[in-house]
Every structure is written in structure tokens, then in C-alpha cells.
């Protein structure tokens, strides 16, 4: 049999039906639902008198527009409140389990899937959210879908899909102290560009990827979509199994052993061929800060804001000029001289326990700069609880951070956690698009360590100096 990539293996195991000239009909092992992209799908199901085929392969939570403060008070936003209520009603009517707002398991959908052990190697996972690629860290084929497709999966537990191309992104060697998974993915994005992954699923490989924790791998897979790839994954290994073992929905006992055997067989075969190859050296990767309005526009923290004239194509030059204008930055400004107003530690990219631990290490015994407002939004109720058990909340609060309830929060600015026009943030989230964190707000994407250090000094700073 011809050698296959992990991507092709998972794909082939899920084809329900294939016919020449048509997309494959792919079975969906797990469907995650949230309040923002689902109401129209449920409504359409009702109008067509369609039933949810597999509520037992579906779960829902509220994350995108939940408040992260004063949850015991009435929701200040009636439209958000309505969306949350509608999801509750839809779940109740269809039997889909819901981690509701006061449930300890509530959180960002891409944090709680792996945390509950629902995300497992070799699965197909979809959600009406582009950062579904996060689940690829467990060795699953996971991708974001629109509302029409949400309805399709609710009704049929399948999706017609065109087979993607495959892309190998290898990161060799080792990372220096202070350089994180976030810096790795920002460097990858700078290399492939915001559209380099269109039509592809990425397998992340190499020693650097292998040596990362599950949290780090999730950070990398999370931002696959920022390079245009619908999905990105990492072949499961002992790190994956150690993370998964004992979690609520993971196989137990004899089933666990059988599962591990199946999961090990998923790895890309020797000699399998990808459609595209990219290789980076871990030693070349440094703490990185975005300067523009897409996640591929980034530089080393020790560098300066680039000159638009330095870009090869007229389109890139024009894009860079537009970005600098929006960001109110001048070419040649040292990144370390950029002062910030807000720090956001959170999002499906960087809100897991390891992210909070490493940020807390930077913050411990220090104070947030008087010019900065900083907040931590844990990814889930369980992350929050664990952090509090470890005393991390105290470290953050004593330093002057706000300690919030879990949700997407300032990553996309759907709830009251937004930047004011002209405000500048150091953010651990995934998108620095114009207005992403609030109309007129300016976002710089960084790692949790870099965000924490920026909060303390009030501008960007090379965190490698702090972790020596």
C-alpha cells in the first residue's frame, strides 16, 4: 500500500461515500456548538422539520459573548443575552449537552474539548469557528465551518468536503529560553504568509514540535487558519497520551490500550509525500511581535518597524503602508519603544494553565506599569479553578491584573471587553485585524510571557532577558 500522511489516513477512515465528480462525504466524530454561529442553523432545522442526528456526538458551550465579570448580575447586553438563551433552548429541545454559563466546565470551546478528553487522536472535529484547528494538536483533523455547514452536520453528522492538499511544516532543532510556541507559529506565518496555506492541511513536524507540551501544540495548531490552512495537526505521541489519560471522556482500562495502539498507527508513513514543504530552524526563532494588521506582519522584539518599501510586491508594500497608518506606527521605530495601554492574557490561543503559569512567573513580585490596564481571562472554569489552587490568581491580582471569568473576551470584542479607539494592546490572542479588539483599537500579538513583561514595563521588552 502506498505510504500515507496522517492527514490522508484520518480522511480515508471517515469517508462515508465517494463518487467521481463530487466531494467526499465525510463523517464527523465530534461537533462543537456555541451561541454565535448556531441559532440560524437550529432555526432552519425547525423550519424544515429536520432532527439532530447525533446529539451524543455534539456538545455546546457559551463563550463568544459571555461577560467575564459580574455574571450574577443581569447581562448588560440584551442581544448577547438573547443568543445565550436561544442556545440554551435549542440544546434543551434537541438533547445536546450544554456547558452553560454557571457550569464549572464552561469555557472557550477549543479549550474545553481537549480538557474534557473529548478531543482525541484520529477524530474528525468541526465547529462553527475558524480556530477549530486547535484540536489538531491532539492528532485530530479539525476545521472551522460556517452556519450552513453547522446545520448540515446537525442534520446528517456528515459534511461533503473536497480533499485538501497536504503541507509539511517542519521546525528543527531547539528553542532558546523565552521563545515559545506562539513565537514559532508567528514565524511560520511570516514565512508562509496569510494565504500560503489555502487549500491545505498542515502537519507540524520536527524536534521543536515534538518537544512542545500539548498546550504549546494547541497554540500552534490554533493559528493554522491565520496562514489560510483550514486545519493543522501534530501526530499523537507519548506527550499526547500522557495529556489525555484519565480525562473524563478518554477511553479507560482495556479500551485505553486498544485506543493507544490505533493512535500510534496514525503517524505519517515513511516515504509519504506532501504537496508542499516548509522547514524552519528552531534556533532562528526569537520573541516576536506583530506590527501590522495581519498575523504574518511580525518582527523580532529587538528589531524595528519595517519600511513598507522593503517589501517585494506592490501589494505587500501597499498593505504594509495601510497597516502602519492604522497602527499609527512609523517605519524604523524600535519595537521596544512602542508603549502599550492594555494587556490581554487569554483566548483559545493562549489561555490554558501552562500559559497562565509562564506569565505568572514573569509577573511574580512585580507591578503592572501605572499606564497599563491588564487582564487575565482563563480559558475555562477548570483552568480558572486550577490556577486559583496554584495561587496564580493571587500573583496576577497582587501585580495589578484583573482576574476574570472564562470566555473569548477581548480576543474578538463581542462582549464589553474591548479596546477604546486608539488604544494599543499587547495581546496573546490570534488576530490583529483592524478593529478586531474594538473599533479603532490597535493589537500587537505576542506570547503570554511577552505580554506579561510588557504589562510590567509599559512597552515591549525582550523577555529572554527576564528568563536567564
Amino acid at each position: 500500500m502506498a505510504p500515507k500522511t496522517i492527514i490522508e489516513k484520518i480522511w480515508d477512515q471517515h469517508v462515508v461515500r465517494e463518487e467521481a465528480g463530487q466531494p467526499d462525504l465525510l463523517y464527523v466524530d465530534l461537533h462543537l456548538v456555541h451561541e454565535v454561529t448556531s441559532p440560524q442553523a437550529f432555526e432552519s432545522m425547525r423550519l424544515q422539520n429536520r432532527k439532530v442526528r447525533r446529539p451524543d456526538l455534539t456538545f455546546a458551550t457559551v463563550d463568544h459573548n459571555v461577560p467575564t465579570i459580574n455574571r450574577d448580575l443581569p447581562n448588560p447586553d440584551p442581544l448577547s443575552d438573547q443568543q445565550i438563551r436561544v442556545l440554551r433552548e435549542n440544546c434543551h429541545a434537541t438533547g445536546i449537552p450544554l456547558f452553560d454559563i454557571f457550569n464549572i466546565n464552561q469555557g472557550i470551546v477549543h479549550v474545553i474539548g481537549p480538557e474534557q478528553g473529548l478531543t482525541q487522536p484520529g477524530m474528525t472535529i468541526v465547529c462553527g469557528d475558524s480556530h477549530t484547528s486547535t484540536h489538531g494538536a491532539m492528532g485530530a483533523l479539525a476545521f472551522g465551518i460556517g452556519t450552513s455547514e453547522v446545520e448540515h452536520v446537525l442534520a446528517t453528522q456528515t459534511l461533503p468536503q473536497l480533499k485538501p492538499k497536504t503541507m509539511s511544516v517542519e521546525v528543527t532543532g531547539t528553542l532558546s529560553p523565552g521563545v515559545t510556541a506562539k513565537d514559532v507559529i508567528l514565524e511560520i506565518l511570516q514565512t508562509i504568509g496569510v494565504d500560503g496555506g489555502i487549500g491545505h492541511v498542515i502537519e507540524y513536524r520536527g524536534e521543536v514540535i515534538r518537544s512542545l507540551s500539548m498546550e504549546g501544540r494547541m497554540t500552534i495548531c490554533n493559528m493554522s487558519i491565520e496562514g489560510g490552512a483550514r486545519a493543522g495537526l501534530v501526530a499523537p505521541d507519548d506527550t499526547t497520551f500522557a495529556y489525555l489519560k484519565g480525562r473524563k471522556y478518554a477511553p479507560q482500562g482495556e479500551a485505553w490500550d486498544r485506543a493507544v495502539e490505533e493512535w500510534r498507527a496514525l503517524a505519517t508513513d515513511e516515504g509519504a509525500v506532501f504537496d508542499k514543504y516548509v522547514t524552519l530552524r528552531g534556533e532562528d526563532i526569537v520573541p516576536t511581535v506583530t506590527w501590522g494588521t495581519n498575523p504574518a506582519q511580525s518582527v523580532s522584539v529587538t528589531a524595528t518597524v519595517p519600511d513598507p518599501e522593503s517589501f517585494e510586491t506592490p501589494q505587500k508594500r501597499e498593505g504594509a503602508e495601510r497597516s502602519l497608518k492604522y497602527m499609527d506606527l512609523k517605519a524604523g521605530t524600535r519595537i521596544e519603544d512602542i508603549a502599550i495601554d492594555r494587556v490581554f492574557l487569554g483566548s483559545c490561543t493562549n489561555s490554558r494553565i501552562e500559559d497562565l503559569r509562564s506569565a505568572a512567573k514573569i509577573v511574580e513580585g512585580r507591578k503592572v506599569a501605572p499606564t497599563v490596564t491588564a487582564m487575565v481571562v482563563p480559558g475555562s472554569g477548570l483552568v480558572k479553578k486550577q490556577a486559583e489552587e496554584e495561587g496564580l490568581d493571587q500573583i496576577f491580582v497582587e501585580a495589578g491584573f484583573e482576574w476574570r471569568d472564562p470566555g473569548c473576551s477581548m480576543c474578538l470584542g463581542m462582549n464589553p471587553d474591548i479596546l477604546l479607539p486608539g488604544e494599543r494592546s499587547a495581546s496573546t490572542s490570534n488576530r490583529n485585524f483592524e478593529g478586531r479588539q474594538g473599533p479603532g483599537g490597535r493589537t500587537h500579538l505576542v506570547s503570554p510571557e511577552m505580554a506579561a513583561a510588557a504589562a510590567i514595563v509599559g512597552h515591549f521588552v525582550d523577555v529572554r532577558e527576564w528568563v536567564k
Binding site: Q40, D56, G146
Partner: protein, 199 residues
Amino acid sequence: MHRVEKVRGNAIPLNRADVDTDQIIPAKHLKRIERTGFGPFAFEAWRQDPDFVVNNPAYKDAPILLARQNFGSGSSREHAVWAIEGLGVQAVIAPSFADIFKNNCSKVGLLTIELPQADLDWLMARAEETPAAEIEVDLPSQTVRAGASWERHFEIDPFVKHRLLNGLDDIGLTLQHGDDITKFEEQRSDLKPRTLAAT
């Protein structure tokens, strides 16, 4: 889904690359639980600028949008498609589209047409110079025409074309294969997790 065969009319030249879905429809407008009513919020931030092309009355109700590469990047929000439809646009022509956006368009019936950069340069310049200049998109023959002598062929997934031409509902089509799905489920591994206890 409604049927799509031909789109004819003038075109809005949106001369920007990597237009993301946060620009097409900002997140604060995703709180509606309906599929309609997003048009007034399309490109909301850019429309603050009176010179922004979508504000130009010469392009009002134009059924075609011209854009640069990687149009629709970012989030999976189908609201972006609904917002563009809400402007009256029925076809978008660009050198490339983000995958999820393109997929969402194909489910809703908004045509996405990929033409090389050079063709977009030409169409964009033409639409800027002559806002009333018409473009015709013909799906059956997979052709874009502009003026008497300019004609380009475009590629489209044959199944998407079939569905658009016949206004076929994807879900209805899949439900015809319910037996195949059941058969697949019967042989599916029992090791896979369930979110509800088996009954």
C-alpha cells in the same frame, strides 16, 4: 438555496488584498439570530471614510464585487456572506479566496470567481474609470465577459456548479444517502467518545 445562472451589472472595485471577515462584518454585529439584516453593517469601519468605494453612489446596488487575493480571510462567520449579499452583491471576483469563506458562499449561493491577478488589474481599472461599466458572469459556460471583446474562462468545482445552477439544497442531497451514513455508523469504532451516555 436560490438558483444562480447569470449575474450582469456593474462592479465595485474593492482594491485591497487580504480583506478579512472582521472588516466585512465586525464581531459586534454577530449577535443577531437571523440570517438577514447584515447589509447595513458590511464594511462598517471602512465606511466611516466618505471616500471608501462602497460609499460611492455610482456603485450602489452593483451586483458584482471585485477584490484582491485572499478575500474573506479570518473567521468562519457566514454572516460575512450574508452581509455582502445584503449589499446586493451576487458575485465576487478575486485572484483567491479564503477556504471557509468560499465554502460558505457556495452554500448560500453567492458566486466566487477566481481570475488571475492581471485580469483583476484590468477589471479593477475599468470599474474605477467607468463605474457603470458592466460585467457579465455566465455560470453555465464558466465565462466572465466585460465589453464586446474581453472574455475569460473560470474554473469552478463541478458539483458546486451543479448545485448552484439547480438551486439544490446540500442537506437534502446528503439525506438521500442516509443508508450509507447508517452503515458507516454501524462499523464505526466503539472507542470514540460520546457526549451523552448511551441509552
